[in-house]
Symmetry: C2
Subunit: 338 residues, 2 copies
């Protein structure tokens, strides 16, 4: 009794063909339709509370007006902010977003990707985990429009929008050096992900440039699993180094969070005992007595650009490949005061 209302129902109610109802409701065949009939159809559609069955429409038109989004973890503030921007921007173009969190797990990533592709998402915005190259190549072969965001694989020619991680890390390290810190450590993920490697590379370049005495163990790499423990160890190592570090650059907000909690707990004073800087801006640091100097990513631009590039690609799928590196903004705050 409560079956959904279809074009057919309206057609029957008004006494016209399904086609005519479709034409009216889509404002096609503009001039040709009898004004009175059109009005009656519209009125009946409203009265019967008709809603387009997008599924049927999609099947016919081969367009779902849907964007698939895979991020690392929607409950991480960076991902969440990105998701938010993408959602808003997609909405402007009348697209809906379907999403999933990969959890940095290639298997899970693949599963979500499959679901999105099977659901005929018109295009995808992806933040791929490690070892996702095969799936990327699959997408290319299937000619499914997609944009990588935050990360990319230098070996594969794809559209992407990312931070210039090298430059950002370089500048942050330069800033630390400029403050007079001599023994600058870095804690970054042990990962094959290129964007993370770029952060390390930027740090190392600045270290070399400044001819600061660098020892290999100033660069501490931590694993995603057991991140808390490994981060705490890394901090410990840097602070108990024979040449004790006087500043640390963190490869992400999550690492920084663990580290700061530990540093707090150990009663080190920032920046007197140790200066800190990190990637990603986070609310959390605002309440810390020495808010962290950080590299603020242009999340809004990243998200908006990704959506626009994707939609361009959907609309005309032989647009040229676009690769965008945006600059971060170094927000100098109390954790690195001279």
């Amino acid at each position: 009794m409560n079956k959904k209302v279809s074009l057919k129902d309206i057609a029957n109610a008004v006494g016209v063909s399904v086609a005519l109802v479709s034409y009216v409701l889509n404002n096609k065949k503009e001039g040709r339709i009898n004004k009175a009939v059109a009005e009656k159809i519209r009125a009946t559609a409203l009265a019967m509370n008709y809603r387009t069955n997008q599924i049927a429409k999609s099947l016919k038109t081969n367009k779902t007006h849907t964007i698939g989004l895979i991020l690392a973890d929607i409950s991480n503030p960076f991902s969440a902010a990105l998701a938010r921007v993408i959602e808003d921007e997609a909405d402007k173009y009348n697209y809906t977003v379907i999403f999933g969190s990969s959890d940095e797990n290639p298997g899970k990533y693949k599963k979500i990707l499959d679901a999105l592709v099977n659901r005929q998402a018109d295009g995808l915005i992806l933040s791929p985990p490690e070892h996702a190259e095969p799936q990327i190549k699959d997408l290319q072969q299937q000619q499914i429009p997609f944009i990588l965001i935050d990360r990319y694989f230098p070996g594969i020619e794809t559209n992407y929008v990312v931070l210039d991680n090298y430059k950002a890390a370089y500048e942050a390290t330069q800033h630390l050096a400029g403050c007079g810190y001599k023994r600058i450590g870095m804690i970054n993920y042990a990962s094959s992900l290129f964007h993370l490697a770029e952060r390390t590379r930027g740090y190392l370049a600045a270290m070399t440039k400044n001819k600061i005495g660098f020892t290999a163990d100033y660069l501490q790499e931590v694993n995603m699993v057991a991140l808390k423990e490994e981060t705490e160890n890394a901090v410990y190592n840097l602070l108990h180094h024979k040449k004790r570090a006087d500043a640390i650059l963190f490869g992400s907000n999550v690492i920084a969070m663990h580290a700061v909690k530990y540093i707090n707990q150990q009663q080190y004073i920032v920046p007197k005992d140790i200066a800190l800087a990190c990637f990603d801006e986070t609310d959390a640091f605002d309440l810390f007595y020495a808010p962290l100097t950080c590299i603020k990513q242009p999340i809004k631009e990243m998200g908006q650009l990704a959506v626009r590039m994707l939609i361009d690609n959907i609309d005309d799928n032989n647009t040229k490949i676009k690769q965008v590196s945006l600059d971060g903004e170094l927000m100098v705050r109390a954790s690195t005061l001279g």
Copy 2:
């Protein structure tokens, strides 16, 4: 040349009918199909990289295996955590999530809701903004399964999973009173949303119970728009009251965040000058010198329950209405030490 592979293509390649291919790929008609043929079909499907067109399947089966999710704002940690749990739980049942942020804006909410319904989501999980009653009633009339989460409208009989806000606020206030605070203020949203009113009601009940000298202006209500300014004013009012407040309970993590920043800026010391407690647990407070005593919501249970209840409803849409109020957990921390 790169058209997607359909059942028809496989059928042609193997030399059988489309129906047979469908049967094989869906493991229907188990015993009856020739083993060799079945194997060949499966092999061909794999070789051709066939992927079910979910759109077509959905049209026929009238099931999309999709859950629509509307939260207030995906970039708020509470929403994000909820989204994450819901996503994970939905995945367990092979459902995909489509989401949107209402931004507490009824118009936007309605728009997203429409999109989700038109896309034939099998069911919805909703955190409705103010004035969303009409849409709720619409859904009921259309018999679309849905579960309210975090919020509900007491005037409408619906499924919901929420925090027992009254109890949580009552207990938090009791705790403050127990610590010896006598002049306890509350800063909450000026809103018609029932769950927020419940927080106020719990606070007031505890104030009455403890016979603490309550004056109307110990309860400060702030507007969502211009939240920062109004929160700062509210804090100012409480601290410049003729009977200066010695403790404040905040109606949400967002309010608390603004308030703490302001309190910090004004150089008040927590909890010596002013004790604090708030709703919602947030990472951010961990780095504050006096981490905030807070009411931790059982986000995981809420999300999981909502998904399970929804799927029960989808599978059998005359299950009885279920209304769940979960208890919060008061996390006592340094902001309310005696």
